[in-house]
């Protein structure tokens, strides 16, 4: 087990494992997402208060969860990058960032599409949406830093520091935004929280969350492969791979 884990730290081996996992993860993602979509859109009964509009929850909440989870993955990989300087960790961190930004973007847009029928406007400075917006800024800062630095390894280590600073800050930002939201409590703002979520709604929600997680694993590994190929372009195993691709 430990040996297996150790070998995963080598870019060549990681690439091969990721390549082999890809079809399995891909099909699992597809199946789980289709089941989740059917369950959420067709089987789950409409909410007695929000009608069918609440169905946005099945994509909004998983996207919001993923936006935080991916940042945690980035920070974890960043810590490994700084401590052990593993190229695999660098690749995972850089692969995760744009996906996290996409999940954050989806959480924002679906949240605002849900907000329109609930609040009457597309955007309300509600605590959760505001935190999510700032999280998007954190992701964009990380991506901008990566593209601004020419040397890949320097960029990765700088990004790792930024991701760790961000992860320390996220709870503080979250808390401060909550405090701010209670300070400026608007007149009769309906809470976005699902009213006492029942099992018929929770089950498809969890299925969708699993689907999003699998999607991140699938896409993240493909992207990590790209990062490894670019970072290791001159090493023997990548050249071997490229040669085989020709024939």
């Amino acid at each position: 087990m430990w040996l297996w884990f150790h070998r995963l730290a080598s870019p060549k081996h990681f690439y091969r494992v990721a390549e082999r996992l890809n079809p399995w993860l891909g099909s699992a993602t597809l199946v789980v997402l289709i089941v989740g979509l059917y369950w959420g859109l067709v089987i789950a009964p409409p909410d007695y208060e929000q009608g069918d509009s609440y169905r946005i929850i099945f994509v909004h909440v998983p996207a919001a969860w993923m936006s935080l989870f991916v940042y945690a993955v980035m920070a974890g990989a960043g810590a490994v990058t700084l401590v052990w300087r593993l190229k695999v960790a660098e690749a995972v961190m850089r692969a995760a960032a744009p996906l996290g930004a996409w999940f954050t973007f989806l959480a924002l847009v679906t949240g605002s599409l849900w907000g329109k029928p609930m609040w009457g406007t597309y955007w309300v400075w509600d605590a959760r949406l505001t935190s999510e917006l700032i999280l998007l800024f954190l992701y964009l800062g990380f991506i901008a830093l990566q593209s601004a630095m020419e040397d890949r390894r320097t960029a990765a280590r700088a990004g790792a520091v930024l991701a760790l600073v961000g992860v320390v800050n996220i709870p503080i930002i979250h808390y401060s935004v909550e405090w701010w939201a209670t300070l400026h409590q608007g007149p009769t703002v309906t809470k976005l929280d699902a009213p006492s979520i029942s099992l018929t709604m929770l089950a498809p929600l969890l299925v969708m969350a699993l689907g999003f997680l699998l999607h991140f694993a699938t896409t993240g590994l493909i992207r990590a492969r790209c990062e490894l190929l670019e970072g290791e372009a001159r090493s023997g195993w990548v050249r071997e791979l490229a040669r085989r691709r020709r024939t």
Binding site: G26, L33, L37, L41, V42, P46, G51, D52, S53, R55, I56, V59, H60, A63, P98, L99, W102, F105, L106, V109, T110, L113, W114, K116, P117, F212, H215, T218, T219, I222, R223, R225, C226, L229, E230, A233, G236, V238, R239, E240, L241, A242, R243, R244, R245, R246, T247
Partner: protein
């Protein structure tokens, strides 16, 4: 079917939300795969011709 598409009147919100999510969920892996293939093609073109093994 029509009732399903109507979404209790919330169709202008539910369907764009799901549509956008699906677009991103499909777009990101497809883009990643194409990027990988592009990288491999570029690397292959840099390799000297004629050799098939190291």
């Amino acid at each position: 079917m029509q009732e399903f598409l109507y979404m209790g009147g919330y169709y202008p919100f539910v369907w764009p939300a799901y549509g956008l999510v699906l677009l991103v969920l499909i777009g990101t892996p497809v883009a990643a795969r194409r990027r990988e293939r592009r990288i491999l093609r570029r690397l292959a073109s840099q390799e000297p011709r004629g050799k098939t093994s190291a």
